[in-house]
Every structure is written in C-alpha cells, then in structure tokens.
Symmetry: C3
Subunit: 321 residues, 3 copies
C-alpha cells in the first residue's frame, strides 16, 4: 500500500504521523521551519504564502492551545482561518463525519487541521479525500486519540536539533505515561528515523506500552538508571484522570519516583536539555526548579512550534496528490 | 406599505425573504453569483469588494454550518468578520434585542447576518435600522423560525438554473416536512417568481401547511404520484424532534413512505436532479444510494451557496436606503 | 516604586488603570482617539498600524460585548486577533496563569487584552512580563474584578470632552452601585486627573465605598440633591445579583429612589448629558424616556469606545519598556 501521506513523487500531501515519513522529508520540514523562525522576530510577522487559502480547524476534541498555535501559524502565512466548534455542529445533529467533510470540501477548503479523540480519524479523512479525487485538500493531524501528534513530534525534533546541532550521537529519554501519549509515539518514530542511536522510555510498568522494544526503545523503570548520560530528557504530562485510576497510587507517589527534580536531572549530562509538551503539572511530573531552570527549553518548544506548523502548512500547500 | 427589502429605487437593501422580491432582483443575484463561482477555483480566492467592512454574524440560534458559509463568503470578499455568540452576551444579561442592535450599530457595523429562532426577528431589526435612519447597515436573514431562509432558497435556484438552464418548463417537487421548513417556503416563493410552471409539495397531511394551494402549489400525499415527471426533487431534512412527537409514527415508517430511494426516484424524469439543504439524515428522508448517486447535486448546492452569499453581500454593500 | 504602566521615559507601556496616569498621557490618548473617530466613517475603515501584530484576547471572565469592541479596534488597526476561550483552556486543566502567559509569550504575542474576575490580574501579568524581560509585549486591562476598567473610563472622558469641550468647569455625578463598579473607579481617577472640579457619587449607603471622600468625591444619598446643577450624569448598571441580596430591598424600590427619570434629570443643567456603560436595565436604573431621549449620549460612548481602544493599542505598540 502506498503511504497515504505522500504523492507519487514522494512529496508530502498530508501530515498524519511521523511514522513512515522518510528522513529527507523530516529534514525538509525542519529546514523550512528554520526559515520561519526569523519571521516571527520581524516587525511584520506575515508572509503571503497562503494568501486566499482557507484553513479549517476541525477540533472534535477541545484544545484551545493547540488550536491557537495552528491559528497563529496559518494567519502568519496570510491564510483565512475558520474555527469550527464541531461539538456544536451538524455532526452533533447526527450527520456522519464524512458527510461533514464532504460539505466542507464543497466550500472550497484548502486544508483541514484535525483533532479527534479517536485514533485514525485524520487517516479516514485523508482516505476519503483520495476517494473523492480531491487532490488539492490537505490534512494535518493535530492529535488523534493515543495515536499521533506529528507537529508536536516535529517541533520536538526542531528543538533538539537547535540545541544539539545533530541527532547522531544523542541519548534521548522520554519519561512518564508513554502508554497514553501520542506525543511519545510521534517522538519515538521521528527520533529513530533521524538517526538517534539511543532512545529510552522511563516509567512504571503500567504506563509503558508493550511494543517499545520492537520500536527500538530501551525500557527503564528506574529514573536513576534511565537518566544516566542522557542528552535530552522529554517529560510527559501526567493526565489527571490517570491519578484517580487503578494505574497509579497517587500524584505524590508518582512525583517521588518519576517527577524530575534537580537531583535526578543531575544524573543526565551536564548540558542535557529538558523538554515538556505542556501544559505542565508542576509538582507532579516536574519540579518547578527544573521547569524554570537553565536546562529547560520548554518555552523554546512553543516558539519553534509556530515555525514548524508554518513549515508544514506551506509545504503541504505547495504539493498536490 | 413599501417592501422593507428595497429602497426607493427598487434596489435590494436587506435580504429578508424571497417573498416579495421581483424576478429581476432574483436574477441579478444569480447572475452576480455566477461571477463568483469562478473565483473559488482561483489560486487566491479573495476579492477586495468588502475590504474594511465589518460583517457581524448574529446567531441567536446556533448553526455552525450556516455561520461558516457566511464567514467564508465574507472573508473571500475581504470583509472583517465578527462572530457574536449571542447566547452568552448582553442579551442574556437582560438587555433587549434592539438595545443590542443599537450598540452594534454604534460600533460601525456594515452588515448583520441574523439567525433567530423567532420568525420575523430580521424584519424587526431592519425596521429598527430604518427608524434610526441607519441607511448604511444591511440585514441578511440567515434563517428565522419557520419563516424564511432566503440565501438557501437562492442557492437552490442557482443550482436548478445551473443544471436545467432555465425555469420555464420545469416541474419541481419539494418532499417532506414542509410545515416546519423555512427552506421550503423560501424555495416556493422563488420558484414561483422565477416562472416555474409546476411546483409540487409531497408529504403526510400532518407535515403540510394549509396555505399551499393559495401559494400555487399542488399537494401530493403519495410520493409515487408526486414524483412522476419531475425535473427537480428537493428533499427536506426531517427534524429529529418530529419523529418522537405526535406528527409521525416512526422514522422507519416515514422512510417507507417518503424516503427517497432509487426506485422512487426512477419515477421522476431520467435526468432529474436531487437536492437537499443538509445536514442529511441518511436512511430517514434519503437513501444513501440516492445521496451518493449520479443524480444528487447536494454538494454542488454547498459550493454554489458560497458564491450566492458573496453575491448577496456585495450587492447589498453597493446599495443604500 | 516605578509606575508599572510607564517606561523610564514616562511613556505608556501597559494600560492597567486610569489611576496614576498623568494628565498628559490621558490627553494624548484622547487626542489620538480623535484621529481615529474619522476613520470609522470612511469607506475602508482600516489603517495598517498594527499589521502583522498578534493581539490576544484573554477573557478569563466572559464578556462578549467588550471582547467584540477590542476585536473590532484591533482588526481596524490590521492586527491579527486571537480569541482565547480561557475557561475551556489549559488553565482549566490546572496550569497556572503565569505558565499560560509564558506559553502565549513564546508564541510571539504582541499584546494581551485581559479580562479577569480577580482585581489585579493584569498587574500580575505585566509584572511577570517585566521579570521575564519581555519589553515588547503590552497588557491592556479590559476589566479586573472591582478594580478598574480603564478603556471604559477613557471613552467616558472622550465623550465628556466631545460634548463639553473641556473638563475645567464641570460638575459630574456618578449614580448607583459605585461600590462594585470598576467603571466608577476608573472614571473618578480620570475625572480628577483631568481637572474636573466637582465629582459627585450618588447612591444608597450600602452601595458606596468608604474611601470616596479621600478620593475627592462628594457623597449624596438623595438624587434630588446630587443631580442639581450637574453637567454630566453617569448612570451605572445595577447588577441583577445585587437585587436579590441583602444590599437592596427590590428593583422597584431602587428605581423609585435612584432610577433616572425625566423629572429627576430636569434637576441637572438643561444641557446635561446622560451616560451609561451598558448594558442597560431599562426601568431599573434608567427610564426608557431618558435612555432614548435627546440628552442621552450612550450610543456615542460605544462609537467613541472603538476609537479610544484603537488609540490605546496603537500608542502601546509604539512604545517599549
């Protein structure tokens, strides 16, 4: 089966996952993003690359922050942005997802930014567009269930490359609830493709998926072992709902074992960077002294995230199926 | 009484209903829309006709889809669009509708797109603007109660003219819950004015209004009779709330009698087109084989709807009271 | 302590309160607003002063009308406007206010328009920006708790100057629930600074703050005394929640004593103007005959409010810390 993200020339037409994307495409996105990082410092932050294009934010699951970053990115590319509050729309009136998509296509949408609680929803939409012969409409996955969050994965890669120059000699640890994290999955695929030799997953047994070894990831249950010699530490958000469940004893217990404190961070390399996709639970997965400390690059991630999303949108807009 | 939709020169200043509009104005809107259909296929989909104008979407009743089509149309005309979530605004704090309108006028609005659950609300607003001497502010009815949905009526006319070239020899059937349908009323008035010789209403007694005959419409209770020889079949959405009420036995029973299947459609002319204002209830008023079949022009309606709304807005913006 | 609203050159970098602003800055804002009043009458209402800038509307407390006026003002300055529905965002997921602000800063925001139920929240944000060394980001207080609503205060001053030419010989009465009114506090500070010789507060003991005399305000409990000889009467909205509480007997009783009727207004000067920040409770604090009468300038306030907000935003954008 052809990769649904690429056209016959191997160009990116949808961004659904970092999985299955060749290193050349990942690198092309990062290089393009680098050209946009400068733009946001200029007096006028806009470029006309998507002028007259209509970008639809289809958030079936609410996420003000992620929607905002896509809206900013699209507006800085001069696109028209339409925010659809899908939970209040026709889908709620019993219309099928694909009928909704057909309708939006008929309004001459150019791009769908899709957030959905169900894994695979953006794929379903991309497939449907192909079936309909709509080669001119692009899909960006803004997070689907536990599956993928590729722009977050890419902005993490941008951040790592920015601070560490290249990927070839790095040890990267991802810490926390990897089982439920689409960010972790997108990071792991991107890190592997970009040539990071050692990717580690650190967390309690109950929060780690079974297929990590197959993905080339080394598993640690003890942070003191896992952090040793790391160049990059990616902390994951602990969803509140996990803490009340059977998977974890308590937030305090979690922090004791897997919260990143200055003491634990000292086990990593002295110049290790600390990342977090946000929003942070201070005192749960990360100590404020680390979050606000000199090794944290968490706000840089946010800044680079705008540039990466501008890069993805402008690359997609230039390609057709 | 003067028609509140027209100024003294007979030019359109508000679009409140298709009722009472002369054929020349309906045709002018359709002709103008035709010039916009091409624009949405261009690389840059914008024209500067409403640049610097402020269009206020006043949706007292929630409708994400209709609001979105107006927002797209206004943005493609380069207007600034303000979406007011009226249900959360000052009106909710006890302010009267007309005080709200006065306030928005004072903000130098240029156009109000009004959706309201009460029939006549857009008329009330237009009258109030006249009383205030605000000749520069235009009202577009985006659906009021059971009364009218004129832009839907006009896009239906555009679609019919697109596929059938003219209105003079057509037989058009409207099927379903005509009693509660503002779309049906707007269609009937437009079809009659544009010279369609035979307009039919098909539905159960309980869902047909009493004044159809006076409007020049022929009434059918049996679809097999009503569809015979039709050029155009307009299916209406069956509101879910009707199905639980006293008016209808069940959704299954309704589909059996009034759902459009390929077999029933075969009774119409072989080149008959099938329309639906959306969102569709597949398996209730329309069979998927028809909805996705070669005679359905339902998605064309959506596309033409953007052009028609651009036409209405640009014509209104050019006229004053 | 340095005034957090001014930089070392005494230029405005945040608008947090009318308190503590020198007369020269208030006058500069009003003069700048005067240049924008004309713009809203032009065919194209936009100026490119904030082109490429990102204005974030951070409404922690819902206010459709105030948000709309800022959105219009920003769009007429050609800014990109991002509306954040904070009640549904990460703050609701347990993130701290300052982490949210840091994130938005990292997205290269240029301006925060902040509405918050807690007095002082905009100050907290401005202080945090200073600590972070973000000299390029400006805060506009769009209403914080009972504390301040400076753009409302400034538009009131603009309205008074428009109708009365100068402030030097005026008697201004503020009537109603001054205790809970951020508008009243902002008005009092601005009136005093601009040289109004006599400011009066009229209301029942339970709705007047204790520090009025210290602010140079004369206190009246009887409207018949307080309105005598006034040039300007500012009526305040009576919040519905007050009427059910222990502070007031009933809405009818309130209207009898403090509602502005034509009879009571006749006690003021014949050319006195009547103002109200909206939304009005007709029949509670103001009689319809007054609200719609020739002395009311309530809708002028709204119009001037857009120009004043454009002035504030454009002045802030031109200054840095």
């Amino acid at each position: 089966m052809l990769n649904p993200q690429l056209n016959e020339n191997g160009e990116l037409i949808h961004l659904l996952s970092t999985e299955g994307l060749p290193r050349s495409i990942l690198t092309h996105i990062l290089d393009t993003a680098a050209t946009f990082v400068g733009i946001t410092d200029r007096e006028v932050k806009k470029v006309p690359l998507l002028r007259g294009k209509s970008v639809f934010n289809l958030f079936f699951e609410n996420s003000t922050r992620t929607r905002t970053t896509f809206e900013i990115a699209a507006k800085r590319l001069s696109a028209d942005v339409l925010n659809l509050d899908i939970t209040r729309s026709s889908t709620a009136k019993g219309e099928t997802l694909l009928d909704t998509i057909d309708n939006l296509c008929a309004m001459h949408a150019d791009m769908f930014v899709v957030r959905h609680a169900s894994s695979g929803a953006p794929y379903l939409i991309a497939e449907h567009l192909k079936k309909r012969g709509r080669k001119d409409i692009h899909v960006v996955n803004a997070g689907d269930g536990r599956h993928a969050h590729p722009t977050q994965g890419l902005l993490d890669m941008y951040t790592i490359r920015h601070f560490k120059q290249n990927f070839e000699n790095l040890t990267v640890a991802i810490v926390g609830d990897i089982l439920h994290s689409r960010v972790a999955r997108s990071d792991i695929h991107a890190l592997t493709t970009l040539g990071v030799p050692e990717v580690r997953a650190i967390g309690p047994q109950t929060l780690l998926p079974a297929d990590l070894a197959r993905m080339g990831v080394q598993v640690y249950h003890d942070m003191n072992d896992g952090l040793k010699g790391c160049d990059v530490v990616i902390m994951l958000r602990l969803q509140n709902e996990r803490m009340n469940g059977a998977l974890l004893p308590s937030a305090g217990e979690y922090f004791k074992h897997y919260g990143l404190t200055p003491e634990k961070l000292a086990l990593a390399k002295p110049d290790a960077i600390v990342m977090h996709p946000g929003p942070m639970n201070r005192g749960v997965e990360i100590d404020s002294d680390v979050a606000d400390g000199p090794q944290a690059v968490i706000l840089n991630q946010v800044t680079f995230g705008i540039a990466v999303r501008m890069a993805v949108m402008s690359i997609l807009a230039g390609n057709s199926q």
